[in-house]
């Protein structure tokens, strides 16, 4: 059954593409490709009517960001989404540190909805939007 919104658990973390991209430079196309995406469970994508490569809007209490949805290749991860580390992920991760200085980069609630018509921002555009510089 198609759903408009999906409640998921947000994980952020490393991918080798993100690792390679950052070494080319944060303004490089490699970095943009690697970090402005979100891994999703195949069935979850079906529920949202989202295909591989369709843009989705991910929202948390801390903000929203548009990302390219990519099917997680190795196993089912129902109810999880995985965004590589980077400014895109960080525009929505939780600030909650439980007083140890470490924000909650993994395991916080989020919502995903299809957003085929909204663009994925470049890093420059993203920084301008979030920080006005």
């Amino acid at each position: 059954m198609m759903q408009q919104k999906l409640h998921v658990t947000l994980l952020t973390g490393r991918t080798i593409e993100q690792g390679v991209g950052k070494e080319y430079g944060k303004s490089s196309p490699e970095y943009y490709e690697a970090c402005s995406m979100v891994y999703m469970d195949a069935d979850d994508m079906q529920k949202l009517g989202v295909k591989n490569g369709t843009n989705v809007l991910v929202t948390t209490p801390n903000g929203s960001v548009v990302l390219k949805a990519v099917k997680y290749p190795r196993s089912a991860i129902p109810g999880l989404i995985y965004i590589p580390y980077g400014p895109w992920a960080n525009s929505i991760v939780s600030n909650a540190t439980t007083s140890i200085g470490m924000p909650s980069f993994k395991g916080t609630p989020a919502e995903v909805e299809a957003a085929p018509d909204q663009p994925v921002l470049s890093m420059k555009e993203l920084l301008k939007k979030e920080f006005g510089r």
Binding site: G13, I16, N62, P87, S99, M102, F131, R133
Partner: protein, 490 residues
């Protein structure tokens, strides 16, 4: 043309020091032995995204200025600040870090490194219970059970498996590379073998088909002689593909799982049938494997440090390891990320007593994560200036922390025009440590290694250490002048 061997790769905590670099006309043209990220770095260092000269934000735009102007501006910001942050330090050498501690002390600032967003919780865990660990060679020579928990070395530390753990030849344990290939062959035929061979070169992923989440019973191979690989993660990572046994733990339930394992190691009975989605009967079999091994090791990553529980996850992982020593030899090690974040912790600690989140505002070092880390100070909006070096909080900190960083004068030192540099007010270009600058770095197991200079930096580009010394001198002279003016005023 010159070929330089035994170069230490300045990227991740593996600090592979067997890289062979070919240089022609002061330019790296070839890299041997490295992983994909390593190659990208040696190609990327000369990219068009480098900063070429000092910049200062004027009328909202970063414009080129002289070195002296930039140094003076930066020093003035720091010398006048009431509560500045000096953050980063993990991708530079220990020589620069040493100057950094002195600068932070001089300006009464909060000195912090990237551990705050990676393995700070691990350091805090060790402060609660200690840590039984070793250097990586000890694992290479002896380990027959290797656990990766909440980490994916294939993606984040690509050569970890081949250099230090499952696929390396040790004095007392052999590499599992051949039997892994056989396994893959038996499972999927020739096509998969080829991709696995490519995986061995750490370049391309073995292509595999998605499976559904089914909890498998631990295979009998877990009881076999020789090295065994167990991966525990919330998703089936690249590394998990290679494991003898993969446990897919429910998100944010690692703590419960480890505490349950501890109870089982102590032969306690549990009232529950499953923990974190894993049947307890399977956990008992896993515990059998752990207590019967000759030498076991747990490597852990940000799957533990960044999910619910954070440093308590590390504390319990260490406690589990400690408990296992009642039955056999078992050790544990964090998979440190930046190539010299361990060095930053070490240098900060020998000079101040504390490894990260050191607050010098009272004239002596203080430490209390929750109070004194850069993240705490930024989220509470307490700081009034910042210097960021050898890291990119603009891309790695949550939005609100970056907003707080940008609100006040921001000094950035980096070779690349990264997110933080784009947001900065005073921006210094620096030379690449480990490519254009030599020095010392510490591997994830705290082994010091020399970094080599293989090419000259571009004309006029200074090292982090040189830049920091200039700023420190200027700060001292501004402060001396102020004291003099005050004395004259009185």
């Amino acid at each position: 043309m010159s070929v330089i061997n035994a170069v230490t790769c300045p990227i991740c905590g593996c600090l592979c020091d067997d890289i062979e670099v070919t240089v022609v006309n002061n330019e790296v043209v070839k890299v041997k032995n490295g992983c994909a990220v390593c190659e990208a770095k040696y190609m990327g260092y000369k990219s068009e995204h480098r900063i070429r000269q000092p910049l200062i934000r004027k009328d909202g735009k970063l414009v080129p200025v002289s070195m002296n102007e930039a140094v003076h501006k930066a020093a003035e910001i720091l010398a006048n600040a009431n509560y500045p942050i000096l953050y980063g330090w993990s991708s530079t050498n220990c020589e620069a870090q040493r100057v950094g501690v002195e600068l932070a002390e001089e300006v009464g600032g909060v000195l912090d490194n990237t551990a705050v967003v990676c393995h700070g919780p691990s350091l805090m865990g060790t402060q609660e219970v200690g840590i039984p660990t070793s250097t990586l060679g000890q694992i290479r020579h002896r380990a027959d059970v290797i656990i990766y928990w909440g980490c994916d070395p294939w993606s984040a530390h690509p050569r970890h498996l081949e250099r230090y753990t499952i696929f390396t030849e040790g004095r007392f344990e052999d590499s599992e590379w051949k039997s892994y290939l056989n396994k893959v062959k038996a499972a999927a035929g020739k096509k998969k073998l080829l991709s696995a061979q490519r995986a061995g070169l750490s370049k391309k992923a073995p292509a595999t088909v998605a499976e559904s989440v089914v909890f498998n019973k631990p295979p009998e191979t877990l009881q076999k002689e020789g090295r065994k690989l167990i991966v525990i993660d919330v998703r089936k990572s690249m590394t998990a593909e290679m494991a003898d046994y993969f446990i897919q733990v429910e998100p944010n339930k690692d703590y419960e799982l480890m505490q349950a394992l501890r109870a089982l190691v102590k032969d306690e009975e549990l009232d529950v049938d499953q923990v974190a989605g894993v049947p307890v009967e399977y956990l008992k079999e896993v515990v059998e494997t752990l207590v019967n091994c000759k030498f076991g090791v747990i490597f852990f990553g940000m799957g533990l440090t960044q999910s619910a529980g954070k440093f308590r996850n590390i504390e319990v992982a260490i406690s589990l390891t400690r408990d296992l020593n009642m039955r056999t030899k078992f050790l544990i090690m964090p998979m440190r990320g930046h190539f010299n974040v361990a060095g930053a912790n070490i240098v900060f600690a020998w000079q101040s007593g504390y490894a990260f989140g050191v607050d010098f505002s009272l004239g002596y070092p203080r430490y209390n994560p929750g109070e004194t880390t850069s993240m705490d100070v930024l989220l509470r909006g307490e700081s009034d200036a910042a210097l960021v070096i050898a890291s990119d909080p603009g891309a790695t900190f949550p939005k609100r922390a970056v907003q707080s960083l940008v609100k006040n004068p921001l000094i950035v030192i980096d070779p690349h025009m990264n997110a933080t540099a784009m947001l900065g007010d005073v921006v210094f270009p620096s030379a690449f440590v480990g490519i254009e600058v030599e020095g010392t770095a510490y591997r994830m197991d705290n082994v010091p290694l020399p970094l080599k200079k293989v090419v000259e930096p571009p004309e006029g580009i200074l090292s982090d250490e040189e830049l920091l010394k200039k700023i420190l001198e200027e700060v001292k002279s501004i402060k001396a002048q102020k004291t003099k003016q005050k004395a004259e005023g009185a």
